[in-house]
Symmetry: C2
Subunit: 234 residues, 2 copies
DNA sequence: GAGTGGTCTAGACCACCGG
DNA sequence: CGGTGGTCTAGACCACTCA
């Protein structure tokens, strides 16, 4: 475990465990250096990480403060698939329709930058949160990188499996999204009618060596799925 | 101008001006140190910044590469209001309906953490991009922080005005969003019908000293407004 | 194993906030 | 003005990729 990640984790845990309200001032940098016995730079790196993740904010000349807690019921959009490190997520499950190996169509092939003779896993599943239908997902994984998948894995977290078992390091992602009108093929999955609204998200995930390995299209239920993003100018 | 920001800007400009295709390898860190005459740490800070903004990606043991250019027609969700630093944005304009001073309602008051006797500017406007209706925005600015606004300012960029003229430093933001069904009050603004889909985004912007100064609700046209977000695990 | 990015350190100095 | 966070430096060492 890297030091700055470790320190960041510990500071975050301290905040959550003590249930510190927003605006609470943390010890200054000198204090944190003493507490965690690392260099100033390492503390700063940890703090910047927490700041980017919306846990704290720093004010030059003033101090370090606990930031607004996440609004209830909203999902962190950036961490909704890959980068979740933390706890306090809602209990989710998946209803898997199929896990097939196939050759990608033109669109998928381009997104995943596949060779001509490559195969991909095609998974269709319904995502549920607290028993409510959250979204309908169709995803494609390059067999070259994720060599094996099955229904059981897809019922749980594919990403945990990919990270922990396949030892794939996840690097970065692109997400594209917009509101759409549901068509009659997909609406029934969500228990909605054709013409109803939905949020359509297309995601491409890359390994840390820059290779795309997952393309997913997720159609989110317009009433059940709500998201937030925290952003920072630094 | 801070050195690392300056270096980041120059590297980014070099990429765009030479129109380097995705995957192009940049000089190694040693080379960049020589080129820009700053320390290793400063180069790394600049590179990390560019990486977070989706301009490049770095692979340990391998090199620094140009990342996928943004998909045409999609707006950077995180930079769509406050943090835009760059060029190549689409030409936008606004049709302003009103700029009023009023006392905030309960919801706005809470979001903006207003005192009991505070006033806010209330602005209603239609956002257009390339002549097409993009979204319908209702926004509130705390008079305490943004002491003056008028129609002309609202027709251009309120954020530029707030930053450059009011000397407000923008720190961070929270955005909440979901798909909704348009009601009959708002649909006409977008040239759509009640029941049509839309993307509803609520944003709160904070100054760099942690005070909220702007709350906005924007209803985006489901066909005209498309967004992307680039994310990184580091 | 050579080359490359990533982490970590100690310490100097700068920029900002608030009394 | 004192205290606080932010930047920048030089340099050591670690971790990864790829031929």
């Amino acid at each position: 475990m890297l030091k700055y990640q470790d320190v960041a984790k510990k500071i975050q845990q301290a905040i959550y465990q003590q249930n510190l309200p927003k605006g609470t001032q943390l010890p200054n940098i000198e204090g944190l250096i003493q507490q965690y016995q690392v260099s100033r730079t390492t503390i700063i790196k940890a703090l910047n990480r927490l700041e980017r993740h919306g846990v704290i904010y720093q004010i030059q000349g003033s101090g370090i403060f606990v930031r607004q807690p996440k609004k209830q019921g909203y999902l962190n959009f950036l961490e909704s698939h890959g980068f979740s490190v933390d706890l306090n997520d809602l209990p989710g499950s998946s209803q898997v329709f199929n896990v097939d190996v196939m050759q990608p169509n033109v669109k998928v092939k381009e997104y995943l930058q596949c060779e001509d003779d490559e195969y991909v896993y095609y998974i269709k599943r319904l995502r549920l949160v607290e028993g409510k239908v959250y979204g309908f997902e169709q995803s494609y994984y390059r067999k070259k990188i994720v060599s094996y998948l099955n229904k059981e894995i897809a019922e749980n977290s594919i990403f945990s499996y990919v990270k922990d078992i396949c030892k794939v390091n996840i690097g970065f992602s692109d997400k594209y999204f917009k509101a759409i009108k549901l068509d009659e093929d997909i609406a029934p999955y969500l228990g909605l009618n054709a013409g109803d609204p939905a949020l359509c998200v297309e995601e491409i995930f890359y390994t840390s060596s820059g290779e795309p390995f997952d393309f997913s299209q997720i159609i989110y239920h317009y009433d059940n799925a709500k998201f937030f993003v925290q952003s920072h100018s630094k």
